[in-house]
Symmetry: C2
Subunit: 317 residues, 2 copies
C-alpha cells in the first residue's frame, strides 16, 4: 500500500517521543506532525513554544532524555545572568533553548508566520519531516483558579499546579484557523490515518481539536483515528496534571479518555499495565491494542509507532 | 572642596576603563557617566548597546580584560545554536551578554526608556554610580562607503572596516534630546568638571556632542573640560579605526584631537609616549598633563582618574 499519509497530533514530551518514532518509520512525504500551541507564551519578550520545541528537539536528536525536557548538554549561563539582572526566573531557559526562542521571536516580529518560522528552524536543524503548529493564530490555554484565569505556564510552572483548578479554556478560540499545512493534511486524498500521540487529552490534544473547523472535519473523517493512551498503570507518566483533572471532575482512566474523545476515536493503544481496561473499552465498541507504551529509547519509539500504524493497517518498512 | 559633581563622557572599552576608575575614586553622588549610544543596534530582535554594556561590565567587575570586550568567563552556547538555526553569526554574543540584551529589549518593548532600563539593570548588578545613555531617542552612527551608508556595527564588525569610508553621520540627530540625567548633570550648580574619557573623538564622543543642545551647552560651560587622549605613541590602542580616520582625512594625532575639540577643550591628558606633543599643544594655548594612560588594572584606572580630576583641581580621597 502506497500513497499513504499520516497526520499525527502531538503535545509535548510524551507526544514528542511518538512523533519521533513516527518520523523514524515513515518517509517525510508520508507524515505531518501537528503540534499543540496552547502552551505557548510570551516571556521576557520571547515567544516560547514548549510543545513545538519538544517535538523539534526529539526529531533532531537534541532532546535531553534524562531531564525529560529541553536540550541535552544544556547550559544555563544566560538564565543565571537574567536572574542577576532581576528578571523573572520561574521559567528555566537553557542557553541553546534560548537561541531557539530568540530566532523564533525575531522572525515572528519580522512578519513570518509561526508555520514559516517552524519550517525554517526545523529545516536548519536537519529535520526532514513536517512539524506544523496547529494554528498560526495565537491560542493560549488558561486554567481557572480562585485567583482567576491563569495562563497555562503560570499555573503549570510558576504555581506548580498548586491552585485548585475549576476550568480550562483556550483563549483565541474561536478565531484561530488551522495552519495551512494542517488544513492541507486534513484534506489530502491519500490521508490514511490520524494518530493522536500519548499527550494529555484535555490539555494537549483538546486545543488542537478546538481549532476552528478541526473537530467537525475529524467527525467527517474517512480514515481511522488511533490514539495512544498517555496513561500507564492508570495514571499519567508525568505528574501533577492528574491533580488538575481530578479537580475538574475528569477521571484519569482509559475509559474516561475513550469517553472524552467519543466518536472521534476508532482505536486506542493502551499499556500492558492497563490490559484489564481492554474488555470494557471493547465492550463500548472500541478497537484496542495492548502493548508497552513507555518509550525509553529509539527502539521503543519506533516499535510503538509501528504498533499504532498497524492499527490503521499501514505497512512500514 | 565638596559639592563637586563630575560629568564623564564615555564610549566603549577604553572609555569604560577610565569610567571605572572615576567610579572607584568618586562617591556615587559626585559622578554621572554619560555613554555614547551611537553604536547601538538592533540584531536578532535585540537592542544591543555595546558602549553602555562595556561601561556596565567594567563598573560591575564583569568585563573580560583578556579579550577586551564582553563578559568574563563567558560561554557561547546560544550563539552556536543560533548559527545552527541559520541565524546571523557575524556579531558574536556570549550567553551572559545575551541575557543583558534580552532583559533590556523586553523592558524597552514594555515601554521603559533606555535611561530607566539602564538604571534598573546596573542597579541590579550592584553598580551604585549613574550610568546614563546620552539620549533616550535612538541615535545610530553610520559610515558612508561605496556601498552606501552602513550601520556602524555592520561596517565595524561584519565588514571589519574593509570598505573605504567617505563620511560619518549620526542618524536620529537632530531630534535626539539629552537623557534626563544628562540634562540634569549639565545643569547642576555643583558641576565642577567634565571629563572626556579616552574614547575615539569622531566615533564615540562626537555622537554625544551631537545630541541636541549639548554642544551649545558645553560651549557655555563654567567648568573645565578635560579630555584623556585615546592615543598612545601616536596611534589608537585599538586598531582599525585609524584606517577610517585616515580615509576621512582626519589625522590621528593629539594635535588633531585638540583641533577637533577646539574651544570645548581646556585640558588634554596625553601619554608619556607622546610627551613630544606637549610643547605644540601648549603653544596652541592648551593645558596638558603627561602621564601613563594605558590602563591594565584597577590601580592604573584609579591613578589615571585621579590625574584627570586633579587637572580640574578636584580632590579625591
Amino acid at each position: 500500500m502506497k500513497a499513504q499519509h499520516v497526520l499525527a497530533l502531538s503535545g509535548g514530551v510524551g507526544g514528542a517521543k511518538l512523533a519521533a518514532g513516527l518520523a523514524a518509520v515513515l518517509p517525510p512525504e508520508d507524515l505531518t506532525i501537528v503540534v499543540n500551541t496552547g502552551d505557548d507564551f510570551e516571556h521576557l519578550g520571547l515567544t516560547i513554544c514548549p510543545d513545538i520545541d519538544s517535538v523539534t528537539y526529539a526529531l533532531a536528536g537534541l532532546n535531553d532524555t534524562q531531564r525529560g525536557w529541553g536540550v541535552k548538554d544544556e547550559t544555563w549561563q544566560a538564565m543565571g545572568m537574567l536572574k542577576a539582572l532581576g528578571e523573572a526566573d520561574w521559567f528555566n531557559l537553557g542557553d541553546r533553548d534560548m537561541a531557539m526562542h530568540i530566532a523564533r521571536s525575531w522572525r515572528l516580529r519580522a512578519g513570518e508566520s509561526l508555520s514559516e518560522v517552524t519550517a525554517r528552524l526545523t529545516r536548519e536543524l536537519g529535520i526532514v519531516h513536517a512539524i506544523v503548529p496547529m494554528s498560526d493564530t495565537p491560542v493560549r490555554t488558561q486554567v481557572e483558579t480562585a485567583e482567576g484565569w491563569l495562563d497555562f505556564q503560570r499555573y503549570f510552572v510558576a504555581e506548580q499546579c498548586r491552585p485548585v483548578a475549576t476550568g480550562i479554556r483556550f483563549a483565541g478560540i474561536p478565531g484561530a484557523a488551522p495552519s495551512p499545512a494542517f488544513t492541507e493534511a486534513l484534506a489530502r486524498e491519500d490521508l490514511c490515518a490520524i494518530v493522536v500521540c500519548p499527550s494529555n487529552p484535555y490539555l494537549s490534544v483538546d486545543p488542537i481539536l478546538a481549532v476552528d473547523s478541526v473537530r467537525a472535519t475529524l467527525e467527517g473523517r474517512r480514515v481511522p483515528l488511533i490514539a495512544v493512551s498517555p496513561l500507564v498503570g492508570g495514571t499519567a507518566l508525568k505528574g501533577p496534571l492528574a491533580k488538575l483533572l481530578g479537580e475538574l471532575g475528569q477521571p484519569v482512566s482509559n475509559a474516561a479518555i475513550a469517553d472524552h474523545y467519543g466518536d472521534l476515536l476508532d482505536h486506542l493503544v493502551i499499556d500492558n499495565a492497563d490490559a484489564a481496561d481492554a474488555e470494557g473499552l471493547r465492550g463500548a465498541g472500541l478497537s484496542v491494542t495492548i502493548t508497552g507504551t513507555v518509550m525509553c529509547d529509539a527502539d521503543d519509539r519506533e516499535r510503538l509507532a509501528r504498533v499504532a500504524l498497524s492499527a490503521a493497517r499501514i505497512e512500514t518498512g
